[in-house]
Each structure stands twice: as C-alpha cells, then as structure tokens.
C-alpha cells in the first residue's frame, strides 16, 4: 500500500440499516411456514408436472349446456347487482357517521366505524351460509350476504374520502346555518363524486366475482355448476363454465374501466 496516506476527516457513523434484519427475518419466517405447513417440494414438483397434463384436460370446452350456463350467469349478475345496490344504500347511510369531521359525536363515530369494520371482517361466505340457513337456497341470500359485506368496504372508503375533503368547505356550508344532513348532502357527497363512483364500480366488479363463487354454498349462481362438474371430473363442461365466467368478468372489467375513463 502507498506510504503517503491522505488524512481525511472521518465520515459520521453510518446509521444502522435495518433492511438486512427485515430481510433475514422474512426469509426465516417463510422457511418456518413451509416447514410448519408440511409443504413438500416433491408434491409441488409432481403437481407441476401433472399440471400441464391436467390443464390439457380443459382444452376441449363443451358448450352444449350453454343456455343453462347463460341463465346461471344472468342469475350471478343479478345477485351482484342487487348486492351492490344494498351495499351502496347501507354505505351511504353509514359513511357520514363514520367520518370524523361529519359525525355528531365521538361515540357515534366509533360505533359507526366498528360496525363497518365488523361488516368487512365477516367473510361473505360466512354471511352467505347464515342467510342460506335462514332463507333457504337460491340467489337471494347470496345478494344479502354480498350487500352486507361490501357495505363495510364501501362505507369505509366513503368515510375516508369524506374525511379528506377540505375542512374549509365544510365550515363554509355550516356557517350558512345548514343542518348536518344538509352539510353532508351539499358539501360532502358532491365533493367526493368522482372517487365515490370509482369505489362503487370497484365493489360491483368484486361482487360479480364473489357471486360467481357463492354458488358453492348454495347461494345460487354459476359457482355451483362448476363445483358439480369438477366433482364429476367433467372437464369439458368445467372448461366451458370457466370460459363463460372468465368472459363475463373480463367484460365487466372492461366496461368499468371504460366508465372510469369517461369520468375523467
């Protein structure tokens, strides 16, 4: 090494970078989970090898029952539509109470928030099961379950948007002597129009997917048909069903993106 070393003033001590700690913690956790769940790579590998063969069984979709599929599809869409409508109604009623700057008092705010959280936390499937037990089989309990569950999401989204509105606007309408309901109608909802519509489209989208699946618990829709065909190893019909479901969801997705584009 060189004899002449330049004296440099020392750099301040480098702050501790926790990234390596987080990273090793994460990897350790993953390893632990793999062991705990007894996941074996063998099964996965065999499974993956098999998967190509397995997926090839779906390559000849059989559309002969298509009219029944369409009927079920309509039922699924209807379930999603009514479920979303129920969710919108509930969310519109609850959200102003769950917005800190619009709620009449702290207690109402807490209760409304907790209620929305509860509705969100309960899996829609559980709600569907309960409603099927109470109302019998069919799409109606499915719609109710979807409505209640997604109302929780929508209510929270609405409430958070309402909270983000410039407080000055709320003050201005309050200063005219308006009541709380008027404040919400004239300063709250108009200010979050665009976001609100975006949220509503999002949950309709989500409800179409869930409605497709709720049939598995007897809540109507195309999910039950798929479950049956798969159980009977009827791959051709399963393939057809999957294509139908896929086509519908993609169309709804496309439509809602189009609508969202129109909004901007």
């Amino acid at each position: 090494m060189a004899e002449h070393t330049i004296q440099r003033p020392a750099l301040p001590k480098k702050p501790f970078n926790p990234t390596s700690v987080w990273l090793s913690g994460w990897l350790a956790l993953i390893w632990f989970i793999i062991v705990d769940l007894e996941l074996s790579f063998e099964t996965l590998l065999y499974g993956v090898q098999d998967i190509f063969e397995y997926f090839s069984r779906y390559s000849r979709p059989n559309f002969e029952d298509i009219s029944r599929y369409i009927e079920l599809l309509v039922q699924t869409l209807a379930t999603a539509l009514w479920g979303s409508t129920l969710a919108i109604v509930l969310a519109v009623l609850l959200a102003p109470f769950a917005a800190r700057n619009l709620s009449p008092n702290a207690a109402t705010y807490r209760i409304a928030r907790e209620l929305l959280n509860f509705m969100r936390a309960m899996p829609d499937l559980l709600l569907a099961l309960i409603f099927v037990a109470a109302l019998g089989l069919g799409p109606l309990p499915g719609a109710l379950a979807l409505g209640l569950h997604t109302a929780g999401f929508l209510g929270k989204f609405f409430a958070e948007s309402l909270e983000r509105v410039d407080n000055g606007i709320y003050e201005a309408v309050t200063a005219t002597g308006a009541s709380r309901i008027q404040l919400v109608m004239y300063a709250g909802w108009p200010s979050i129009q665009r976001e609100a519509l975006g949220y509503m489209l999002y949950i309709f989208d989500r409800n179409v997917r869930m409605a497709a699946v709720l049939g598995l618990v007897g809540a109507g829709g195309i999910g039950l048909a798929l479950h049956d065909t798969l159980r009977m190893f009827n791959y051709d019909q399963s393939a057809a069903l999957i294509v139908v479901i896929l086509a519908t969801i993609l169309t709804i997705d496309y439509l809602s993106t189009w609508i969202r584009g129109k909004l901007n």
């Binding site: 003050e171 200063a175 309901i181 008027q182 200010s191």
Partner: protein
C-alpha cells in the same frame, strides 16, 4: 341591521396558549368595521367566535338580541353570512347551487335532500348573483372560475342568506390588487345600501383606511385600538403591529407594505 356586542372574550387552547386574552368591543349596526393586526394576533379567532366556528373559553357574544350559545348556533348562523380567504366553494357544484346553499337554513331537510328549492329561493340567489355581477356564470362549475370570481360567488352566497351581519375572514388575501379592490368595494356597497353590519379581517392597512368606518386593532389577543379610521396614525399602527414590545418605527413603512 344588527349590533354585535363582544364581551370579554377569552380563547385558550391546550398548552395554556391564549389566542384571545379578554377582548371587548361594540360594533354598531350597519357599520363597516375592519380588524387589523399582525399574524397570530387572534383576528381569525375573534371573527370566527362571532358565528360560533370557534367557541370562546370565556365571555359572550351577542348579535342583535341573541346571545350566541351552542344551542342557537343554526339560528344565529342563518343570519350571519361568512366570506372566506380561500373562498370555500363546493368545487363540483354550479355557481347557482353554491349560492343556494345560503338558503339551506330555510329549507326543510327532506326538500334539500333532493336538491329541491323554492322559486323564491332561486329568485333570491339570482338577485345575489346580479348584485355581484356574475349572472352569466350562474350554471358554470364553481372551480372553473377565477379567484376574484369565486370570491364574488362567496359573497353572493352570503347575500342569499339575507343576513343581518356579514363576516369576512381575510377575503382578499388570496387575490390580486384589482380583484381585491373589487371585493372590498362590493362589501362596502352592500353595507351602505342594505345596512348590513360588515366586519372584515384584513392585514392590508391601506384597504382598511379606504373602506372602513371603524378600526379594531388587535395584537397578541388584546384590543390595542378601537376607533375611527382617522385615528390610525403612526403611533397607533406601531402599537398594533409591534412584536414582543419592540418599537418598529423605522421599518414601519416597509413593514406595512408587507403587512
């Protein structure tokens, strides 16, 4: 049309910070009063206490025959219009609907839920828009207007309430000089013609001199001047704008240019 009596207002925030330390004043009905003072003097707090947007820790405010309490806020506010520094219009609604929000205190909750108004309400709103000269923008969305135009909508909204008092919290602080002239002129004209009591917070001394009948000087939460515009001499201004007891004679002129 309504006299405002402010008695011993104290406003304390947490950490024992007192924004207002005992302010009293009597504002004559139909007068044009300007509150002057440096930032942090408590002008906003005082003004907003009048219509209950701030609740004083101590003291009372009386407007006309009503003492402002937490139970009659809606009633008081229906008679007190307010104009804000940042206009505070509902962006997505039309100018007309924004002005109509001034009529909300007179509408039933059911009707207003459906955005229904009486013909008389629309006529009042229309008149207000004529007064501020914005009828051609009645159906435009509020956020498509310039700053000066938006503030005029704010004034129209206050007018639509048919108020006895109009409060203006730094109404021209966000506007250019030309628009500021317009707005102050409008407020003065409303005061003179309709006899509405107008109270304005300003930090521009020149505008205060030209438009006010009476000045209330506030500094660090206390009234340091309460009298006619003619009394605004250097000594007074120095008292209003001094900070921490320092005299600011030499830089007063340049300081007031930025006040």
């Amino acid at each position: 049309m309504a006299q405002i009596i402010i008695k011993d207002i104290v406003k304390r925030y947490d950490h024992d910070f007192k924004a207002l330390k005992g302010v009293s004043a009597e504002i004559a009905a139909g007068s044009f009063t300007v509150i002057l003072g440096p930032s942090g003097a408590g002008k906003s707090t005082l003004l907003r206490s009048i219509n209950g947007l701030e609740t004083p820790t101590n003291g009372t405010i009386q407007i006309g025959e009503h003492i402002v309490t937490k139970d009659n806020l809606r009633q008081v506010r229906s008679q007190v219009g307010m104009v804000f520094q940042h206009f505070n219009l509902v962006d997505r609604l039309s100018v007309m609907t924004n002005v109509l929000t001034g009529r909300l205190s007179h509408r039933s909750w059911l009707g207003s839920l459906l955005y229904l108004f009486r013909r008389t309400d629309l006529d009042l709103a229309h008149d207000a828009l004529i007064r501020v000269g914005l009828t051609d923008k009645a159906w435009s969305r509020a956020d498509k207007l310039s700053g000066g135009q938006q503030q005029r909508v704010g004034i129209a909204r206050a007018l639509a309430q048919q108020p006895r008092v109009i409060l203006a919290d730094e109404p021209v602080a966000s506007l250019d000089p030309v628009a500021s002239e317009e707005i102050m002129g409008l407020l003065r004209e409303i005061c003179t013609r309709d006899g509405i009591t107008v109270v304005v917070n300003l930090h521009h001394v020149e505008l205060a001199r030209r438009f006010a009948d009476r000045i209330i000087g506030l500094n660090e939460g206390l009234v340091v001047y309460d009298g006619p515009v003619s009394g605004l001499d250097r000594a007074t201004l120095s008292r209003i704008y001094n900070r921490n007891g320092e005299q600011v004679d030499e830089q007063l002129e340049s300081m007031l240019a930025y006040a």
